[in-house]
Symmetry: D2
Subunit: 310 residues, 4 copies
């Protein structure tokens, strides 16, 4: 996929990483998961993001995953690889592996150990983008990285031709709308929304799509919501948005910690016989009674979502 033709838009699910153990991929589960997601008509696939537990995985496994994903997707949709790291050197190495494997772009959040100042953040991204072998999607994720791309920093970075988009997972729609406004000056850049709960509004009001974790489970739901929003079919948007909120309410709040979203998705995928629910440390998979709750909620959702699909 040539750099100059890559338009980052639509639904690009942040794939979970199916694991059999701490350092072992669930290879068959991964294949099933990729086919399940692609069957929903998604516009890309994003591996090794937050939902993919990337920072918790060893590098060998990350490289194996990149290879397997690129090979299996085989050009059907663009593949985005998360290469966020606290170490500049390791980010570059991983990006080079992704380029060789045939990925379309990389996604990079700020280094997440030291809280950097904005000028330091700007310098970091200028330097790393210059060395990246693939187009770059910026990843705003202050909940995990402790730092936001402030608007002035972002405006400066958007001047770089190798930065093609920003994924905003801040959850701050105020900020998101400011980014949309800024894009008027940068017509070749795009913005994706992270939290799926805001996919409807983000797309209705000028955004370019979303990186929706729930699309691991129900890819068609998010694709149809995106399509309805693009054609400004507000009634369908409202119906599907309610389903998205239902998925979030029923599957992502079963546990007590911040990890509940990823645990809920992996547990549901396991209940759906798609892939294993093993988590990388520091998280552990849902066991009973949480698993039974997920199973029950999944049945409720299936009824609602299936009845809506065309």
């Amino acid at each position: 996929m040539a750099r100059d033709t890559l338009k980052v838009s639509g639904i690009i699910p942040p794939m979970v990483t199916p694991l059999l153990g701490r350092d072992q991929l669930d290879v068959e589960g991964l294949e099933r998961l990729i086919e399940h997601i692609l069957s929903g008509g998604v516009h890309g696939l994003f591996a090794l993001g937050t939902t993919g537990e990337a920072p918790s995985l060893g590098y060998r496994l990350r490289r194996e995953l990149i290879d397997r994903v690129c090979k299996q997707v085989n050009g059907r949709v663009p593949v985005f690889i998360g290469v966020t790291d606290t170490s500049f050197v390791e980010s570059i190495t991983l990006a080079e592996h992704a380029a060789t494997a045939g990925a379309s772009a990389v996604v990079i959040a700020p280094p997440y150990y030291f809280p950097a100042g904005q000028p330091e953040l700007a310098d970091y991204f200028t330097d790393i983008v210059n060395e990246m072998p693939l187009p770059v999607v910026l990843y705003n994720m202050p909940g995990c990285t402790k730092i936001n791309f402030e608007l002035d920093t972002l405006s400066m970075l958007f001047k770089h031709p190798n930065i093609i988009a920003i994924k905003d997972s801040s959850g701050q729609m105020h900020y998101y709308h400011s980014v949309i406004r800024m894009l008027r000056e940068f017509p070749d850049k795009t913005v994706l929304i992270g939290p799926e709960e805001m996919l409807a509004e983000a797309t209705l009001l000028g955004g370019n799509g979303g990186v929706s974790g729930g699309a691991n489970l129900f890819p068609q739901l998010y694709v149809e919501l995106y399509n309805a929003a693009i054609r400004q079919d507000i009634q369908t948007v409202n119906t599907l948005h309610r389903s998205v909120i239902e998925v979030s309410s029923l599957l992502y709040r079963v546990g007590r910690h911040g990890s509940s979203t990823i645990k809920g998705i992996k547990c549901a995928l396991s209940c759906m016989d798609i892939c294993s629910d093993v988590m990388a440390e520091p998280f552990g998979k849902f066991i009973e009674p949480e698993r039974a709750v997920i199973e029950k909620h999944l049945a409720q959702l299936d009824d609602m979502i299936l009845s809506q699909q065309h």
Copy 2:
């Protein structure tokens, strides 16, 4: 150094990592730095901590650093190696390298991308300590990891024989005193204070020493302060404590961002012709006018500190 004889106490400086470039050690500077620090009579050496910019370094360089540090220290003092990582697998791999190289213990902070809940934190440490080839020092660093070892979690972890100490860099003396109180039940464990500004009080009131960044520059100052506190010579403690606060006030607040402390130490080491001041991304070294300020302040400090030393 046998595990059963390792007592974590005294001044264990968190060594900066001298760099010539992003992925290149300043080998000669490293040698000079180690000798400079050891000449101050320190009780151990801690490589690859926060001050050592560990998360910003590539793994190859980290392994090279471990090898060089262990070889040069050559058993004169215990060597502690930071193996904190978001990936369990990479932590273990690095710890095994450290064990082979001859390190005495490893230091581990919580994984720092995902904010874990306390039960998740407890499980994580139980699992990783079980697999560690060396004794473990817990590292409480909520400013960078977003999570604190709550007292109940800590009390549970202290039951593990392979955990020998905690380094508390929270800066919360309220918490620190609670840890000291808890140690009455765990007489074989120790607690070190991170921020050197609290070394005096931490040691006067029952603690076991500190991991003082300023000991890269003035190792004898911190060693003498520690010794004075241990022998309850409160007048000398007050004099040396004032010098420590002076170091902090004059060298660690020259820049505008959180990185000012490490930048200040590295810049001062460069002014002292000990090692290079190159920083790993996302930070950059002080240039003018900051460097001139550091140089001026260093001269002021030299006068004060030299006049105190015996």
Copy 3:
């Protein structure tokens, strides 16, 4: 306005408090401001909220303001009075004054000095709502109160018949959509969005309107946006939403501190010859060069907004 007929919906501007001095109302400015706002077709008027600088005002002045507002509005629209206080007793006293003056409802955020736990918050609101002489709108404002109404707490409070709505100023649309979902169980309650930047999406996706600070300046803009969203005219919504974001971008970010929004609104009102821009401590009004910037931006906005109005 009888309690049983009060439906909290539409645009209910949070009126600024025109001041001539620390303890002196700008009486004529207040009259002009009320007429200016009502001329835009708003659905209610909210005095003594955050935008009204209520916590910074003395109680005598607050009572005078309540009297003047109720008298001048004279039943044309419902009047909402903020009675948030750290002291239960003072909240009740102010609410009784508001009831006597003829206000329609009170608006209460959590007490904002001590950070309360959720059970404490639930008890507090149960107790205070029981003593309130008017219907109550809950006010979620974690940025100032340090506490969020968690969903379980809110669900419990919504069972109280005297609580008629919630104003959500958290800026967290994820949370907002969960509140909308909860309202399915409470069909007689409503939800208003605080930040005007999210008025479009909040109303398109099932909400009941907004408490938009910019409606002090351009009341018709927000009313038309609300109406377009209610009739699902997505194209008009997009046009007017862009104007709202423009107001926010041009008028609320001129200063450097969190106070920039209120300062910007008051400064613009002064430029429009509607009322004084004097602020209550701890804030001070914009002087040059900020005032000149506001004046210039206001001219830009006038062109854009006037060209859209019907």
Copy 4:
């Protein structure tokens, strides 16, 4: 007490406010409490601080309390009155009442609803101190006010002759030591530590005393600790410091919320038959099983503390 002779130092307990109900003082309890505290040899009495639940009390009750406290103390020690408020006007009014009643000084934290910027904070304090009829103690309490007196701001404010001291309740000893360093330039100002857990170190290393909540219960303990620290009797300091940590560990952590400290003190005072444990909203007093735990812990403490006293 003449302004020019008031030296703020020693143990100045932040008195709880004994209540029979939301708006009713426990007058007899108040008398017993004042005598109990003064009997410990304290150096002053601070009413209407955080521990006194000041922001939760109505103004009438606050004025009654000021009158009763000043009358009963009757010049035996200086009386400090908290006049922190979000409203400048109400702060002044309360301070004037305090001056008339015979208080020695007022204590003011930043206004705590709007998070102000540092220049706004500096202006606010400059203005309010100018209008205060009594000397002013600054009160740094970022946990409740969301803002810190940064060092530059503090240095500017210390130039004002009417500001005589700062009470630092930030819990950040790093900051505290910087304040101590700054006082070298302001020899007529003093610094008190808020959290009693740091009273020992704060006084050993150059501070002037503390505002220790536990001195409501055991005034002599804190006075003896202070005296031992002043005469640099480090062994006695260590013994008494351990008791202070024991008080904190056994009495302030029985509940689950931030309110546990004040609840614990009031509950213990009630168990000691000194005054009522009624709390002002948003807090409620400890009932069973918490009260039984406090009672048991109090017995343990009595043994330890009584055995130490001379």
